[in-house]
Symmetry: C2
């Protein structure tokens, strides 16, 4: 055999068994390899350190055999992409999408079936997904399990939530992988519906840090027509396997080839800022399907909402749960109803006076007497207001003040009922000029047996965004499955909650001070969060002396959240009267932008601290937010992100010298100074504290 | 103790344990009794013969204990009702509702819970239901089982269908109760989706005949917000117990007090005509909820339908199943599509020429390439026509000819998808002036895990009728749960299939000759059936010489079905060209009325023969239909139902002398004679044969 032939044969032999790609920076290498019995596996290293040890891939089918072994490689294709795109709303006006891609085309000999696995390597991590091409031997199929493994290389520090198929509203646990155990968590945490799947099941996104300082994050992108991926952990082996959420009868996903799975993502870097600032999840989603996006706009809003959470008023009109289907005309008002025409006008006045875009009203519609915890199907019709809420009068008044109303659709988890009424509910919104809806899914899902995180519900949440786009409406969903970048494809899906938000502080053991320092490394990677920050009256005892609940931050940290918790939809969540007591601090909320030209992740440590500076897309203003956990923190920020050769007025909103989230949360200080890009600012953050700074060019 | 006191005590003692009511005729007695441990029981006798031996009643709850024992009687209330009401469309213009009623109010000591059982005794049978009053100790609750027993007194001849939670499209089995066994039936019967619940589970309605000639029927009425009741049988003990259909997770019904169960009905008479002519099911339903019913009208229609069943054309456009989501613009027409603009105009012309009201078109809309057996969710959108079906042109043409179009919504069982599109589908119908829709539910239900007969689906079918009423549209549902009188409450729900219809003759082992003689005793008790009669070209071999399928009746029996199978919606189901070959026989279909002043059940034997005469509501015409099973039959009909002192022209459409459903089905003879109310007509019905007669007054 000639040398060239031998070399050719060697090349062929080598490439039959192992392929790899690297990140554009070359720091990350991903290797793909078929094992001896044709099982697809992969591994990942970072700067030559193993991050993912050899881990299996595959899909199990309900019928007709599994797609896990017996494969041969039919083809390998590589490509590189380096492009940019512009989101309608975002943390940046321009998002770079730079990766190397490898497609492995597999053929399963026995079944004749084909599966492609596509790998992408970005500078901040890798991603892979399964692709089922159109083929004779695979048409409609049912997935009974996905067996994507993530075998980690060490007993990493891990920030985890229990694998609950219905809720992400847990506070984070911070333990080693080997110590993960869902039975040990505090179940008395304010969550109404819990469906924890097992002792060693955790949710994704999963944020970790190795002993030698490597940050690792496992998540997914583009969850479309597929269930959510949780993770089964073997704690003392640091092995994770995909755990798909089942439907009512135990099936995972119903698919028809050609189709694809979501992307499974593994971010890795020795710099935490690469993770928290990563745009990988958005980059892995389909481009926008909406042509005319002129109606998609950011909104700062206030609302009839917090007053119910703190017990000043109620969502319901008749003041009682279980009014037992009393006809609306027979309901006796309790006098505590929050969503009245009069109260709404008060909020509209406040919004107009202080330059807000919108007013949210919860509890405007019939059905709240009976809505919670009853698994009731025909709970709301989304169109019938209570007798004391005049839809027309409210909307005329808002229009006269240049304010938009934000609609509220609490579904109570009764999704079938919501879908039956959806067009009528959206017709009503168009009739009165509501541009956006906040939806809620508090409660067990109907269709009964489904989970919030199953394929059926994933499809529902996405369907609502699609249907809303038909109507040119924006959607902000609460208690939905956590976003995985679909806001790129449907930019009208502008925000979601889908994590433990600020409201938990009003009536439960609340959110620990570290909570907001971990969420940007996890929940926010997939899309904006309507965290509803801006609570000034920190302790609930002001409403009722017997209450012990409080927000677990200082007031200054609440301001910083408008920068650190990205969302184009931001609520000034507190009561108007509480803002009017602190108009100086409120000025930051009034000033802060909500749509960004650029974002700089200056300092970041998951679960500890975070400092971000962002530039307004529509002005030369910059805004900075710095937050810390239960530890006080001193830091110095270089302002080299500012434009050179410009002078800026910086208004610094800080914790007071004696501030402390527990003992003295409302102590704050405001200082105005002049700065340039060469300046540095020293910040002292109290325990559970923060700082917010606005930078406006001085002409 | 004085005598009166003793008597009073005796009365009190007696009435604490046993109560009874009688039918107005006093032939039927129903006894209620609490057993020693407070279990509610009842028994029924007819002319002093035991029909239902002592049988238990009760409800089991998923949580909090059962409602089956430990009761005491708190109160007994009696009343009598004798009223009439007028259905919008019906077999009679006036329906009498005459019964004696007894309400037993029970209190369960341990739980403090209250249940009322209401009994009604009509001349043709009894009914009972459970009522859960508003109360402190019962609010939202989940039924895990209903344990209503029907302990029969003998090994009756029984006409039964297997207890299939998804389909009633079986041919009837005729055996003794002791011989019931679902494993013995012919499973090769053309039914696509089978979900038979067990060896000794049968459906209701269940028709029986005792050895001493008593006709007994067990059924239910007003199934609203509750699952369908099947029946568990202990074959050698002749004991039946209610078997409710579960949902995806095994629960039966989700209820909130105050609420009621459906009525369980037991019809009994020594005259079969009392059963087949009973209006009890309608009488047990709530009165009409529709105020203005002027838009609810009967319809005789033809349609692009049978030609697909006999293989002349297809529902789909691209001629293939599993087109794998090919975009509509890429579909390549097979040339065999039935629902084209041109073909529709042909049917419109035919309908206009021969005086029909409407034309149904199946296969007009995108989705048929992929619709069957794939459990596909987003299968149809109910609004997008195929490229060769011009909605506007078709409807303009129909309007110009004075013909209404009947819409078709095949859901493929993907109910969630249908509900998402329902308003848009109905908007389209209103836009083009469609007055009615035929819906279909062929396939496994989505939400996955649900059955056609579960509470979720029962609610869906009723919901569609309610929503259609909003739009002033009429509904004819196929493959829905069998009707139980809801057409009284929503008279726009004008018909349903929900049993094995004429179509099975085109492509399966078909419907045996007795089939149409049993359906009026079972399926039709609950509401009209769109049986789609009127097939003239009896044998399918005319379309393809290799076909062995055929309609299992003579042509004359097909005519008779327009009288014996009551429906305000009647199809002339055959191809236009087949009618044009037999315009003389077709005349009966053109003449027969579809809305009735009165109906006379002249002769009836379940599974054997049936003769009915009906008077048109809108003229002085009468129509008679007589049918037999596989046995030939000679009978003499007295025409004393005709108005006295009138002369009538009677056109008699009979089997030819040599007719036979198998060997010579198309042999028929037409004779015209003059009759009066004093006349008698002798009829000879062939094997599988029938006769149809129109009576028109001669001036």
């Amino acid at each position: 055999m000639k040398n060239t032939q031998l070399l050719g044969l060697l090349f062929f032999v080598v490439s039959s068994f192992a392929q790899n790609i690297q990140s554009p920076s070359k720091a990350i290498t991903l290797d793909f390899k078929l094992s001896a019995d044709g099982k697809p596996t992969y591994s990942v290293s970072y700067k030559n350190k193993a991050v993912i040890l050899q881990s299996g891939l595959g899909i199990k089918l309900k019928e007709g055999g599994d797609l896990t072994s017996g494969f041969s490689i039919e083809n390998t294709a590589n490509k590189s992409v380096n492009e940019s795109w512009q989101p309608v709303l975002g943390e940046q006006a321009n998002i770079k999408n730079n990766y190397n891609e490898m497609t492995i085309s597999l053929l399963q000999k026995n079944s004749g079936r084909k599966v492609n696995i596509i790998f992408k390597a970005f500078d901040e991590g890798v991603a892979f997904r399964y692709e089922f091409p159109k083929q004779a031997n695979l048409n409609y199929f049912i997935i009974s399990d996905e067996v994507s493994q993530f075998n980690l290389a060490g007993n990493h520090k891990t920030f985890w939530l229990p694998g609950d198929f219905d809720s992400q509203e847990y506070a984070y646990n911070e333990t080693k992988l080997s110590e993960v155990n869902t039975e040990t968590i505090n179940k008395n945490n304010g969550i109404g519906l819990k469906s924890i799947a097992g002792k060693y099941v955790v949710q994704s996104p999963l944020m970790m840090k190795s002993a030698d300082g490597l940050y690792i994050n496992i998540f997914e992108a583009a969850v479309v027509n597929y269930p959510v991926m949780h993770l089964d952990l073997v704690p003392n082996e640091y092995k994770l396997t995909s755990r798909l959420v089942p439907n009512a009868i135990g099936d995972k996903a119903y698919l028809q080839a050609p189709c694809v799975s979501p992307w499974r993502t593994i971010m890795v870097s020795d710099d935490a800022r690469d993770i928290v600032g990563s745009k990988m999840i958005l980059n892995l989603n389909e481009p926008s399907k909406i042509d005319d996006t002129s109606w998609i706009k950011p909104m700062k809003y206030v609302g009839i909402w917090w007053e119910m959470h703190v017990g000043k008023s109620t969502w319901d009109y008749a003041g009682s749960q279980n009014a037992q289907n009393t006809l609306t005309k027979d309901l006796i008002p309790s006098g505590k109803h929050g969503a009245t025409t009069e109260n709404t006008k008060r909020y509209i006045d406040f919004a107009a006076k202080y330059g807000f875009d919108g007013v949210l009203v919860e509890g405007w519609n019939v059905g709240w007497e009976d809505w919670f915890g009853n698994w009731k199907e025909n709970v709301f019709d989304f169109t019938t207001p209570y007798p004391d809420f005049d839809l027309k009068a409210v909307n005329d008044y808002a229009k006269s003040k240049g304010i938009k109303m934000i609609m509220h659709h609490e579904t109570s988890g009764s999704v079938a009922n919501y879908e039956r009424h959806l067009d009528r509910a959206f017709d009503l919104m168009k009739k009165y000029g509501y541009p956006a809806v906040k939806s809620g899914y508090v409660g067990r899902i109907i269709p009964r047996g489904e989970f919030h995180d199953g394929q059926t519900m994933v499809n529902h949440f996405n369907f609502v965004a699609q249907r809303a786009a038909d109507y040119k409406l924006m959607v902000n969903s609460h208690e939905s499955s956590r976003p995985t970048g679909y806001s790129r494809t449907y930019p009208n899906y502008i925000a979601a909650e889908a994590a433990r938000g600020n409201e938990f502080n009003a009536w439960s053991n609340g959110n620990p001070p570290m909570h907001e320092t971990i969420l940007p490394f996890t929940r926010l990677l997939g899309g904006p969060m309507d965290y509803t920050p801006g609570i000034f009256e920190i302790k609930m005892s002001v409403y009722n002396p017997t209450k012990t609940e409080q927000v677990h931050t200082t007031l200054a940290k609440q301001l910083a959240l408008y920068v650190t918790m990205y969302s184009p939809l931001q609520m000034a969540a507190d009561l108007p009267e509480n803002y009017e007591k602190h108009l100086d601090a409120f000025q930051f909320i009034r000033d802060v932008a909500d749509d960004w030209q650029d974002s700089k992740y200056l300092e970041a440590e998951p679960g500890d601290y975070l400092t971000i500076a962002r530039k307004d897309k529509h002005s030369e203003n910059w805004f900075l937010g710095a937050i810390t956990d239960e530890n006080a923190r001193d830091t110095e920020i270089k302002l080299d992100f500012l434009s050179p050769n410009k002078k800026y007025q910086a208004i610094i909103y800080q914790d007071g010298a004696d501030a402390d989230w527990q003992n003295n949360p409302k102590s704050y200080a405001i200082k105005t100074i002049q700065v340039t890009s060469k300046s540095k600012i020293k910040l002292h953050l109290a325990k559970g504290g923060g700082a917010a700074i606005s930078f406006k060019p001085i002409n």
